[in-house]
């Protein structure tokens, strides 16, 4: 076991001063001197145990005062970085006003893990691609020169991406992110100079063709302090479904979130997001267009679902994801109609 020192951050300022790297950068290009953030510690310790990172210092942000509050008012929902998935699941406002988020959180991981998982850690966790997780497989994301999963004859890619999968075919691990993206949430980040900025989730995730070494925009010293989600209006309806092989707990094979504003049966605003479809959570813009400002009926729902998969390029073992996504997109649209 590699040895590391432990630093207990006392404040946001203390935390951002202590770190010097992100998990992703250290993993891509090991410095051997990294001081990294840890909140729930689930992913950080998994990566350490898998031999993928050897941090010199772990900066524990889990106990920073003030980052563990969750509140709801007219401006929307604010979730402190250290709020656990279990706390979000139990929150009344989330249950009543953000049904899709509630569903997503309640179906992430296991009850035990939800007690430990923080929302910031969840959003910033690395992919569960088994090649990425194996120190014996130097893939693109680890500075290597190939994607093992993509190989049409040898790759084991049943869990992998069907969209935006030209280079790295991993899928984003967080299924909670799918729902937060549909609600058009954003992330509040404080950097090393103690400057804060708000980044919409649509700009938070980084696709492999932009930069394969990372999955989000976080720079060294960037600390997420809060996630905010706009207030839904009275006509907002939402839907979330995560498909798995094993109900007790499983990583998503396909998950879909839909947040729409309905006027009668006409859809006035809509976001449809897909998880486990691409290396990052994505919006199905073309599918949204099919139903936007229209009545949602069986025929349109079917077409929207088809359109969402139009550009899909399944790999050797994951073409089942297409009908799977289609069926839940369609079901979701019909449910909110």
């Amino acid at each position: 076991m590699n040895k590391f020192s432990w630093y207990e951050a006392k404040s946001v300022e203390d935390a951002v001063k202590q770190v010097n790297n992100t998990v992703s950068e250290e993993l891509y290009l090991p410095s051997g001197k990294a001081a990294i953030f840890k909140s729930g510690g689930i992913d950080v310790l998994d990566l350490v145990k898998e031999g993928l990172i050897q941090p010199k210092t772990i900066v524990n942000v889990r106990n920073i005062p003030g980052l563990n509050k969750i509140s709801f008012d007219d401006n929307g929902l604010r979730i402190g970085a250290n709020v656990t998935l279990a706390e979000i699941e139990g929150n009344e406002a989330v249950k009543t006003r953000y049904a899709a988020l509630h569903e997503a959180v309640a179906h992430a991981a296991t009850p035990q893990l939800r007690n430990m998982s923080t929302i910031a850690g969840n959003l910033a966790q690395r992919t569960r691609c088994w090649y990425f997780r194996s120190s014996d497989h130097p893939c693109f994301r680890k500075g290597g020169d190939k994607c093992f999963a993509k190989h049409s004859e040898t790759g084991q890619n049943e869990n992998h991406a069907i969209l935006e999968n030209d280079r790295c075919v991993s899928v984003y691990a967080s299924s909670v992110a799918t729902a937060l993206l549909a609600y058009q949430g954003s992330v509040m980040i404080t950097n090393g100079k103690m400057e804060s900025r708000q980044v919409p989730l649509s700009e938070f995730f980084v696709a492999p063709d932009q930069d394969v070494s990372r999955e989000n925009i976080l720079e060294p010293n960037d600390l997420i302090t809060e996630i905010s989600v706009p207030a839904p209006d009275m006509n907002t309806k939402s839907y979330y479904s995560k498909q798995v092989q094993r109900a007790s707990y499983d990583w998503s094979m396909a998950d879909v979130a839909i947040v729409a504003q309905m006027n009668g049966d006409t859809c006035e605003k809509i976001t449809i997001t897909l998880g486990a479809a691409a290396p990052i959570p994505i919006r199905a813009y073309e599918a949204e267009k099919i139903v936007l400002n229209k009545k949602i009926n069986e025929e349109r729902a079917t077409r929207a679902a088809k359109v969402a998969m139009e550009n899909a390029k399944p790999l050797s073992k994951n073409s089942y994801k297409l009908p799977l996504f289609e069926s839940i997109i369609k079901q979701g649209l019909l449910e909110i109609a």
Binding site: R128, Q156, N159, Q245, A247, M253, Y320, P323, L324, I328
Partner: protein, 780 residues
């Protein structure tokens, strides 16, 4: 030995219970009546070690902490095929806290040609071991061993390994049969070419029968299909491992094993020590499922490191190593052709299979096709295909689980073609009386009559019902002995090397001895799993109950008779006039004459009575020429599933499992065994699957996250029916149930899925992807 005649219960209560007269040796105890009339046996007795287990007091091998103990860790290969050109341990040796390093070299019997290190044949093959003051130091040191390979091309896919130009796993014939494999089938590693070995065409039930061509010519209806099963690892909660203290006077071994005596023999043999100087102890065991019969490579490694360092060495492997190197249920691709007459009579069965046990043999598909049903014409050809992957090992009903997956789907298909109910067809072709009862009792409890035609369910989520049967031989290990001691305070001790691998062997031994001595189960102290005591059977083949409970009863009976003789002399009567009931020894003719069991031995000349008994032949002998006990350990299992036809999600809603095992000894434990077997069957049917990268030969999901096993929500309502069946075959007439519990489940589920969606799935695991594919929902 003089013989006497005894009347025994015979048959199935509630069905055909009668009596039978047997001639038995005089030292055998009198016949027990049916369970209803017994006090401890057949009852829902709590496990005698339940408290120790739930409170954590029970000490497993990995819990052992000996003074001065070191922790060992393996270095394993991370290439699938190649030779080692150099190993440099100099840096590792310098790590503070490292006490010993051992590099595995070729065995004498391997012939010392070329390279001194064994060739690497799979990812995870052990290369060296390090013993250090802590596990983390050992791990650090392992990481510092420098190793250079000369990699060679490899093959991990069964079908690719059969191609003419496939890289060879073994250039020379292999005689070696990894532990277990497919029980009772001779895997001849000397025949075959390329990576193919075999075919195996016979088992202990003999070879081919009749004339296939004639049989198929007589058939009105034919079913022919190919069925595929995956590689399935064992996943015991406790991994493989040992703690070994090699002292000058003896080698003391704590082992997580299914066979203490076997591990002792293996280590004594390996190190050329007298068996009397190797002691193996397994007090509590965290699951084995067939993979834990041998000392493996961890046994010799820990022993050598202990010898080198003169310290006890702890060597438990981790979860990843467990998946990679410590056994798996081989895969199979089976083609079955079955012919039948209009009325269901089978005319011919032809079976051909290929399976891979990685670098080992034993990938046969068992004997289900050969003997489950009456069929005059039969032929099987079972091939082993060698691949560069971890060795297979016996896995809960080896061979038969894979074989059942083919046969019992084919029978289901046949029933449909014949327009017969699957149970009615089995009534016609299955001669087993006990399975007949299991079918009818099971069908009633399950509600089989509510089953609808295949694919006729409406709605998106479709429900389906399926049934499947199994058989398993009644193996008996005659080399099974046990000692019963009565001490002069009336306490009773049972001692043997036989181990309790979690099945409840300790408890049934206590029940049987208590019943014989007129005591309570909790009055008996059971010390087993220690080779200091008489040799017992290994826990494999479901042999334990039938092998060890008769000698335990016989030893208790003999000890009791010795005690009776002493009391009879004092009471001036005959031993035959005494009986032991409810904690007393009583004069049968004058019931006021009695003495508490506890006081009976006081004032005796010697302070203990000790009797060791061994397994005698079955009353009425064994089935010839096979040497198996009469009868069968079959089952009939029913499954109900829901299938979401939009998402492919499958849920098992309910299982009814009807089983028999002779005289049931402990209902709670039997149910627990069946529950476990069914859960593993569900897991095999729907979840578990070894995923290998074909480009690198690595096992990609060697963990407990992406190697999926069921958790609470995957476990359905399981109802267990135990059919009592008396055969008058031994002094307890009881049998094991461990393996039978696991055979029929997966195929019952496959049949239920077919009934739900109307499309048959020929391959497990059945996943959302395979359901969507079967329903033709996948387009490119």
């Amino acid at each position: 030995m003089e013989k006497r005649k005894e009347i025994f219960p015979f048959g199935i209560p509630g069905h055909n219970l009668s009596e039978i007269e047997r001639e038995i040796p005089n030292d055998e105890p009198p016949a027990w009546p049916v369970n209803d009339q017994l006090k401890e046996v057949g009852k829902r007795v709590n496990r005698i070690d339940a408290r120790a287990k739930v409170t954590g007091e029970a000490k497993y091998t990995s819990d052992m902490k000996l003074s001065g103990m070191l922790y060992a860790k393996f270095l394993r290969s991370n290439i699938p095929h190649g030779s080692i050109t150099s190993i440099d341990t100099s840096e590792a040796e310098k790590v503070p806290g490292v006490h010993g390093i051992h590099i595995i070299t070729k065995n004498k019997e391997d012939g010392m040609v070329g390279n001194e290190y064994p060739e690497i044949k799979y990812v995870g093959q052990p290369i060296a071991g390090v013993a250090a003051e802590s596990l983390s130091i050992a791990k650090d040191a392992v990481a510092m061993i420098k190793i250079e390979y000369d990699p060679k091309s490899f093959v991990i896919d069964l079908e690719e390994a059969m191609l003419p130009d496939a890289p060879l796993v073994f250039k020379e014939p292999i005689q070696r049969q990894e532990d277990g494999g497919d029980v009772g089938v001779v895997h001849d590693g000397s025949k075959g070419q390329g990576n193919l070995r075999g075919p195996t065409t016979s088992s202990f039930y003999g070879g081919p029968r009749g004339d296939l061509e004639k049989g198929f010519a007589e058939a009105d209806v034919m079913v022919e299909n190919t069925y595929r099963t995956q590689v399935h690892t064992h996943m015991p909660l406790e991994t493989h491992g040992v703690v070994i203290d090699w002292k000058p006077e003896e080698m003391l071994v704590y082992a997580s094993t299914q066979n203490t005596a076997g591990v002792r023999n293996e280590l004594a043999n390996y190190f050329e020590l007298p068996k009397s100087q190797v002691r193996v102890i397994c007090d509590f065991m965290g699951g084995g499922f067939g993979a834990k019969h041998s000392a493996g490579s961890f046994g010799p490694m820990a022993a050598i490191l202990s010898k080198k360092t003169k310290r006890p060495v702890w060597l438990m492997i981790d979860r990843k190593e467990e998946h990679l190197a410590e056994g798996n249920r081989p895969s199979s691709i089976q083609t079955l052709k079955i012919g039948a007459k209009r009325d269901g009579t089978l005319t011919a069965i032809q079976q051909k299979s290929h399976g891979t046990a990685g670098v080992a043999l034993g990938a046969g598909v068992g004997r289900i096709a050969q003997i489950l049903y009456d069929c005059p014409n039969f032929k099987t050809e079972q091939y082993d295909v060698l691949t560069h992957a971890g060795p297979g090992a016996a896995w809960r009903a080896p061979g038969n689980v894979q074989g059942a997956f083919g046969v019992e789907q084919a029978i289901d298909e046949l029933a449909e073609k014949l327009k017969m109910d699957p149970l009615a067809l089995r009534d016609k072709i299955d001669k087993s009386e006990v399975r007949k009862v299991e079918r009818s009792r099971g069908a009633e409890l399950f509600g089989w009559s509510n089953r609808k035609p295949a694919g006729s369910a409406s709605g998106i989520i479709k429900k389906g019902m399926g049934v499947a049967q199994s058989c398993w031989p009644r193996f008996v290990t005659l080399n099974s002995s046990i000692e019963v001691r009565i001490l002069n305070d009336g306490s009773v001790e049972v001692r043997g090397s036989v181990q309790d691998i979690g099945t409840g062997t300790k408890t049934i031994l206590a029940q049987v001895v208590a019943e014989e001595l007129g005591l309570k189960t909790t009055d008996i102290t059971v010390r087993i799993g220690d080779t200091l005591f008489p040799d017992g059977p290994g826990s494999g083949g479901s042999v334990v109950t039938q092998s060890i409970t008769p000698p335990a009863r016989n030893a208790a009976y003999e000890a009791k008779m010795k005690l009776f003789n002493q009391i009879a002399t004092k009471w001036e009567t005959e031993a035959s006039k005494l009986e032991a009931v409810d904690g007393f020894i009583i004069h049968k003719d004058d019931r006021s004459k009695k003495i508490p069991f506890k006081e009976a031995l006081r004032g005796m000349r010697t302070s203990q009575i000790s009797v060791t008994a061994s397994r005698s032949n079955d009353y009425g002998g064994f089935q010839q020429p096979w040497g198996l006990a009469y009868g069968d350990l079959g089952s009939v299992q029913f499954a109900e599933v829901s299938v979401n036809t939009n998402t492919g999600f499958v849920k098992v809603d309910r299982v009814v499992a009807a089983h028999s095992c002779g005289r049931p000894l402990n209902m709670s434990q039997l149910e627990s065994q069946v529950n476990g077997g069914v859960i593993q069957g569900i897991s095999y049917a729907l979840y578990e699957n070894r995923v290998m990268d074909k480009g690198t030969g690595h096992f990609m999901n060697a963990n407990v996250d992406q190697y999926k096993v069921p958790y609470s929500m995957e476990i359905p309502e399981i109802e267990v029916i135990i059919v009592e069946e008396y055969g008058a075959l031994s002094s307890t007439d009881a049998y094991g149930i461990g393996e039978p519990a696991n055979i029929a489940t997966a195929v019952a589920i496959a049949n239920a899925v077919y009934n739900a969606i109307g499309v048959r799935i020929y391959e497990i695991p059945i996943t959302p992807a395979s359901i969507l594919k079967a329903l033709n929902k996948i387009y490119e």
